[in-house]
Amino acid sequence: MTEAVVETLSENDLDTLVSIAIRRAEVLEDVGSASAEEAWLEVLAYEERLAAITPAADIAGGIARAGAVHAALAAGRREDAERLARKFLSDPSLTPERRAAIERAIEEDGRRLAAHFPALAKTGRLSEVQNWRREVAKAAGVFPRAA
């Protein structure tokens, strides 16, 4: 679904779509599917839109903001997650509980990455994982195409 289409959807439509997308992403994650990251990208699109149309102080808005940050992390887009977190945390109407949820998501992802790449974590080089992920995301495929 394109961004333009997502922007036309109502909060109720987005609630339904994000519910379906979360369920799919979690099932794919459970079975270790390579498609899980893509599924989280879909969650990210809906959560971001929900965050844009709901007040930060509302329960729905708070869930969407923390959900968007988590989805970006789960999709391997840590830079996007950090950008979103900065944006959401700069809103004074965001509740302390939701601030903590966003910060917790970032910290947990950091711990998860450190557990996966202990040598890089030990030498303070975890950002290299992000650089690599960014390069891979830009490429059409993991392996270079011939001609």
Binding site: N12, D15, T16, V18, S19, I20, I22, R23, E26, V43, I59, A60, G62, I63, A66, G67, H70, A71, T95, E97, A100, A101, R104, A105, E108
Partner: protein, 163 residues
């Protein structure tokens, strides 16, 4: 109290369009345990005992051979729990929550919110499971009431606890 699983989409309109047919999952999970509609279920909510009559439309049992047993139990439990929470408090589905929120669903009713954690079991460990789920939903920090519901399918049973 009557819990009509086949009415689930009429009650929770937010479930319309879901690829998972929760009502069918509930029906199949109960049929798999040897029950026919309607079945009488024991209920226990915050220590108060009662009963509910669960009704559903029959589905081809051949489907059971093609579904993941664990998922059927969980989806079936969600169907029963969502019917139950509407029956007791008119709660309606707002959206699913991701695991990090420590609850499965956000329900709403007249401006109030409920974080609902659901589990199903096909063994006799419903009470133990309820304790686990209460601990889990207790971690939910959303500004909402919190409830854990466990659905037992062997001896139909709905255990609910407000946390």
């Amino acid at each position: 109290m009557k819990l009509a699983l086949h009415e689930l989409l009429n009650v929770h309109v937010a479930l319309r369009g879901h690829p998972i047919d929760y009502a069918r999952s509930g029906a199949l999970a109960l049929a798999r345990a040897g029950h026919s509609s309607p079945v009488r279920s024991v209920t226990e909510h915050d220590g108060r005992s009662g009963h509910a009559q669960i009704e559903w439309l029959e589905h081809d049992p051949a489907i059971l051979g093609a579904v993941d047993e664990h998922r059927l139990t969980e989806d079936g439990a969600e169907a029963v729990a969502l019917a139950y929470t509407h029956a007791i408090g008119r709660w309606l589905v707002k959206r699913r929550l991701r695991r990090g929120e420590y609850a499965d669903w956000l329900l709403q009713m007249e401006g109030r919110s409920l974080a609902l954690e659901v589990s199903g079991t096909t063994t006799n460990d419903a009470r133990g499971r309820l304790r686990e789920k209460m601990e889990q939903v207790a971690h939910c920090t959303l500004p909402a009431s919190r409830m854990a519901v466990v659905v037992g399918f062997v001896q139909p049973m709905i255990l609910a606890e407000t946390v």
